[in-house]
Symmetry: C2
Subunit: 365 residues, 2 copies
């Protein structure tokens, strides 16, 4: 019937309520400084007409969009094989929603998309960006910082600090990969294990590199043959486990860089007739429920609160948006020295915020 539904404008509401557009605008935006009876009348008119503000018109003048981009730079399908981003997104979404901000999702598949994303961000469509970039050599983060949009990173970016010079501090949220790894290895050691092997993730990702560092913190320089590099996948885990077993048949424990890898390793262990945890104790990382709880035996692992990471990223960004000047390009002197990180107060807007991890004990170690 109604082919074009001509949405009512401020003007229409004003006419109906017998006031000026400005007054309606005031009421719609909180209604401060408008006398009660008028507020009431305007409210009613809005109600009756089913008025909804035109966001485009508003943005045009306010230069705010109440929208935040979430950029996930990951050419590999593998990312989608685990619920990591889904959980993170959920945390982000909750926080943004609570502050009436929209979430614009930008997924990239390889280099071709970089320019597109950079253009979009530079185009001022969103007030800020939350970006996930896993690899050390990813050019995207650089492009994004160049776009002049306030940004918070998910995971510690891998670049050296030099480049951050003229774009302000690089704000990121990460979990305590290194500390978590230490806990895992210490736990294994406390079980009396001494020949503790480690299967790493792709070492061009800071999370994997940090976990390896944690392992080394505890193990010192013991036998390098106990470390095998892998790729966070189950198949990679199988391969690495086989190598490890061939090289060091007497190993009595394994710390795998993530749960998927651990699952693969577990299969090889069983196939070789090794019992877990009796012969080889195994600890994973992530506490990815569908994996960790379903392995045989269920996996002891290091949990990170992924959803909370997302939440925190959003919170940090929104805070920066609220007080401009902390944004991009601002000369941001914060006194002598400065306080880059304050792990104790996750809400502190320091350069990096690191969330704690916890060891979850199940049957594998």
């Amino acid at each position: 019937m109604t082919d074009t539904a001509p949405r009512p404008t401020l003007e229409a509401v004003a006419a109906r309520a017998g006031v000026s557009r400005a007054t309606v605008s005031r009421v719609v935006n909180g209604g401060d400084g408008v006398r009660e009876p008028l507020v009431e009348r305007v409210r009613r008119a809005v109600e009756e007409l089913g008025y909804v503000p035109n966001q485009a018109a508003r943005s045009l003048v306010t230069r705010r969009h109440d929208a935040v981009a979430v950029v996930i730079a990951e050419p590999e399908a593998r990312v989608f094989a685990d619920p990591f981003f889904a959980l993170q997104l959920r945390g982000i979404s909750k926080e943004l929603t609570a502050h009436d901000n929209q979430l614009v999702l930008l997924l990239t598949e390889g280099r071709d998309d970089h320019a597109r994303v950079a253009r979009y961000l530079a185009g001022g469509h969103v007030d800020g960006a939350l970006v996930f970039s896993l690899h050390l050599d990813d050019p995207l983060p650089g492009l994004i910082q160049g776009a002049g949009v306030p940004t918070v990173f998910g995971g510690r970016p891998g670049w050296s600090d030099g480049r951050a010079a003229d774009t302000g501090p690089t704000v990121y949220v990460d979990s305590d990969n290194r500390g978590g790894a230490r806990d895992a290895v210490r736990h294994l050691a406390s079980l009396g294990r001494t020949r503790i092997a480690h299967i790493t993730g792709p070492l061009d990702q800071t999370s994997a590199a940090d976990r390896l560092d944690g392992y080394r913190d505890v193990m010192g320089d013991t036998d390098p043959e106990l470390v095998a590099e892998s790729d966070f996948t189950p198949a990679g885990g199988e391969r690495a486990m086989r190598d490890l077993l061939d090289r060091r048949p007497a190993l009595d424990a394994l710390f795998a860089a993530n749960d998927l890898t651990a699952a693969g390793a577990l299969r090889v262990l069983r196939e070789r007739g090794l019992r877990v945890p009796e012969d080889v104790a195994v600890v994973g990382f992530d506490d990815m429920l569908p994996v960790a709880e379903q392995t045989d035996p269920p996996l002891t692992t290091v949990r990170q609160d992924i959803e909370e990471m997302g939440r925190l990223m959003a919170r940090l960004l929104l805070r920066r948006l609220d007080r401009p000047g902390t944004g991009q390009g601002a000369t941001d002197e914060d006194g002598p020295g400065g306080t880059p990180t304050a792990p104790d107060d996750p809400d502190d807007a320091g350069a990096g915020v690191v969330l704690p991890t916890t060891l979850v004990r199940r049957a594998s170690a």
Copy 2:
């Protein structure tokens, strides 16, 4: 240094190129009907100034946003435990990106969010919506259709057709759950199995109901005790398998409504000393790689192309947006009878498009 980076406007480009704003606008939007030398000059000016159109201003006049909302209505955390939505999103994202559309993600957590989403959609922020609603009694789809935004649903909506009357046909994309289920059960039967059990998903979801129907298509009215209702989770699968085994110890095959459920069932089977596939052959549904390939034994299952579903949803929506009138509220007579569904041409914009499934044989059956 540059505190406020005053983005160049059309005006600025026009001045630089020595033409009018109108001409710049034409060039920026394709440049038809502008003589080559001018086009060139404008292009250069755009380049030099780093001009990027202000989308808000543009939307204000065109009433297009080149943005599509993706609404995922799912209060349960479980959804995020599997990569289903991630894959779907990926497909959607690819398609939208290819057509220069943005993806606005709207995640809802329970009823409180419904009003928010409805308001957002009604607010005309996006040109269309892609919505996933799993449960029969979900009020959201209704609200959304009411909002007058062109919409395509992911998965066959569960409501009775009556309500679609005044909002035009309900367009959706689904995979052939029923046909896939039939294939699964037939495969089991072809293996010589006769006492084939079925663990269902939550029957208030059309996907689960359709799979049960497919099972019944093949099994007829045999022993209802061979069917156990469950919830798509591994734990639910365990529980259901135990029940089944208690009731019908002699069952020789299982068709599980999804891979997660099958994984749980597999564990119970092993725990009871039953060999798979020798004693009990098992088939799942989804072909969720991280699960299906990691079970012991690897799972024979029904694959659905999830990413393609997402792609197709986006394609269908964009097509509707391109030719208005096929949108909401349009009197959409398509001759006598009409052709609601044409499964053979997935790109046909019929009311429902159903994608085929394929059986993937692994070791479990």
